[in-house]
């Protein structure tokens, strides 16, 4: 292997070996181009400093870019975090009224996966996709037909690969304009109009802190299923019978409006929380990226200096040995 390395070096520098002057007085200044050949017999590979310098420049650029991306994500996070925290009260009354039954047994499950459009945000999209696939598996059975509604490009790309036939709707570029409730309620309306569902399971990453995101699944039941549970009289929904419906509409109609309203509220909170998690994940991804780039840069600098110093030492040795040969 050492011989092969030497042979490789020989081949590379052969055209230069012949015209190369022994007289080190020749202006072979700082190691430029292809100078420092360490003809050391133990087969050390000599790196040209030009190559190392190019690498250092590109790594430094990467470090700058990732640091800038981290700053941008941090500022976006600050803005959206306030809104997400303010929207957290929105879904609580629904849970207080209807309870939470994620393990309810229904025929038509629709899994709404919320993900980001842009990448470089760590593992949150993969987590959501894995969860969605797990939910699909959990809810697949003889006459159950689970479906996906995918929000965001990243989850779509991953899910299309193996679950293409289950995907019913995809929505992308949701965060192009700043999120607001009207936009999300129109989206929720579209989904409800186009998809038949018994239960909607919304998968998203809940923002807990800048470094921790909790994968969560919220369940919204269709009015028919709620009616069915009320009749069966078990659990939280069984107590719904004791609630009077104000106004002339029947319980069925009120439940219909309630389900739609609940879905839009839960979606709004889910999309905001996911956007927060995306920014936080991007911050930490870019931060570790720039730190890694810094470490690579350090190592490259050491290599560069070593190579440079070795070349200088070689030159000096040549000069001195040349001079002593002349004297002696």
């Amino acid at each position: 292997m050492a011989m092969a390395a030497l042979r490789r070096e020989g081949r590379r520098f052969a055209p230069l070996l012949s015209p190369r002057p022994i007289a080190a007085a020749a202006p072979r200044s700082s190691p430029s181009f292809l100078s420092p050949e360490e003809d050391v017999p133990f087969g050390a590979r000599s790196i040209s400093t030009q190559v190392v310098r190019n690498r250092m420049k590109s790594v430094k650029n990467i470090q700058k870019i990732t640091k800038a991306m981290k700053m941008v994500a941090a500022s976006k996070l600050r803005a959206i975090q306030i809104r997400a925290e303010n929207s957290r009260g929105l879904w609580q009354p629904f849970i207080a009224l209807l309870g939470d039954t994620p393990s309810i047994d229904v025929k038509k499950n629709v899994i709404v996966t919320v993900s980001s459009d842009k990448g470089l945000c760590g593992g949150i999209n993969s987590t959501s996709v894995r969860l969605s696939k797990g939910l699909l598996k959990l809810n697949s059975g003889p006459d159950k037909e689970p479906k996906y509604v995918v929000v965001g490009e990243k989850a779509k790309v991953q899910l299309i690969r193996d679950s293409r036939k289950h995907i019913h709707l995809t929505i992308s570029e949701l965060t192009k304009i700043p999120l607001n409730y009207t936009q999300v309620s129109v989206l929720a309306d579209d989904i409800i109009k186009n998809v038949e569902f018994d239960a909607l399971k919304i998968v998203f990453n809940k923002f807990h802190s800048v470094v921790s995101f909790i994968p969560t699944v919220s369940t919204v039941l269709s009015p028919e299923v709620v009616e069915r549970e009320v009749e069966s009289g078990s659990g939280k929904l069984g107590e719904l019978d004791s609630y009077e419906i104000e106004g002339g509409s029947t319980r069925g109609e009120t439940l219909q409006n309630l389900a739609e309203f609940q879905f839009s509220c839960v979606m709004f909170n889910a999309v905001l929380e996911n956007a927060c998690s995306e920014m936080g994940a991007r911050m930490s991804a870019m931060d570790s990226s720039s730190r890694n780039a810094g470490e690579v840069l350090d190592r490259l600098t050491l290599t560069y200096n070593r190579t440079r110093q070795a070349a200088i030492t070689t030159e000096l040795t040549e000069i001195i040995s040349g001079a002593s040969a002349l004297e002696g």
């Binding site: 939470d100 797990g134 309620s185 699944v217 369940t219 609630y243 009077e244 419906i245 106004g247 709004f268």
Partner: protein
């Protein structure tokens, strides 16, 4: 039935064994998350078990029940104050505020809610909502939403948009009312007519809120 189970669990405060509870203990210092109640575990346990059977490698996802405080059970006697949560998509206006009475604009008219009110689900129409606490009355114009009154004298009001009355510009209201009335008359399709009618309803409610 579930509520009683929740009450018992709350009294005993068992040692957290499930991962959800463990994570809850770690999350406790965060200001936005309320402390998880052990009652939440029973609701999620079924889901967690089913999940573990089918997908053993991945941690089960959390559900919203583990992120909110459980509501207290219905007390034996009627409490003196009503606890109101008034939430909007962009803010929680009132959070667990103890008041004497709220009047909400339900579809059938003004609904006054006092402590001990029977459990009700009411759909709201555009109108004025007022919160009475002692001698002070705060009025908001709400666009629409829902109001839930629970048996334990908790009232949840969820509105899409709400503004205090002094922020409404009367001239714009008149202009909008005229515009939408004209649209109703010139509407061709059912959809346009419905949209214009909604505009008329909201603006006339705004008008009466300002004058009444």
């Amino acid at each position: 039935m579930f509520r009683h189970a929740a009450k018992n669990l709350l009294r005993h405060r068992p040692v957290p064994t499930t991962s959800a509870a463990g994570a809850a203990a770690a999350r406790a210092p965060s200001r936005t998350f309320s402390a998880d109640a052990p009652a939440a575990q029973t609701a999620d346990a079924g889901f967690v078990e089913a999940w573990k059977k089918v997908v053993p490698n991945i941690d089960p996802p959390k559900t919203p029940l583990s992120f909110m405080e459980p509501r207290p059970a219905t007390p034996a006697s009627i409490p003196s104050k009503l606890t109101v949560n008034f939430v909007l998509p962009y803010a929680s206006e009132l959070s667990k505020k103890e008041v004497d009475m709220v009047i909400v604009p339900a579809t059938t008219g003004e609904l006054g809610v006092l402590p001990g009110h029977v459990a009700t689900i009411a759909e709201l129409k555009p109108g004025v909502m007022s919160v009475h606490d002692g001698n002070e009355v705060t009025k908001y114009f709400v666009s629409s939403g829902f109001a839930f009154v629970h048996a334990n004298s908790f009232a949840d009001i969820i509105a899409v948009e709400a503004v205090p009355l002094d922020r409404i510009d009367a001239s714009l209201v008149q202009k909008g009312l005229a515009e939408f009335t004209q649209k109703v008359n010139s509407a061709s399709t059912d959809l346009e007519k419905a949209e214009a009618q909604i505009g008329v309803d909201v603006h006339s409610a705004l008008n009466s809120a300002l004058t009444g």
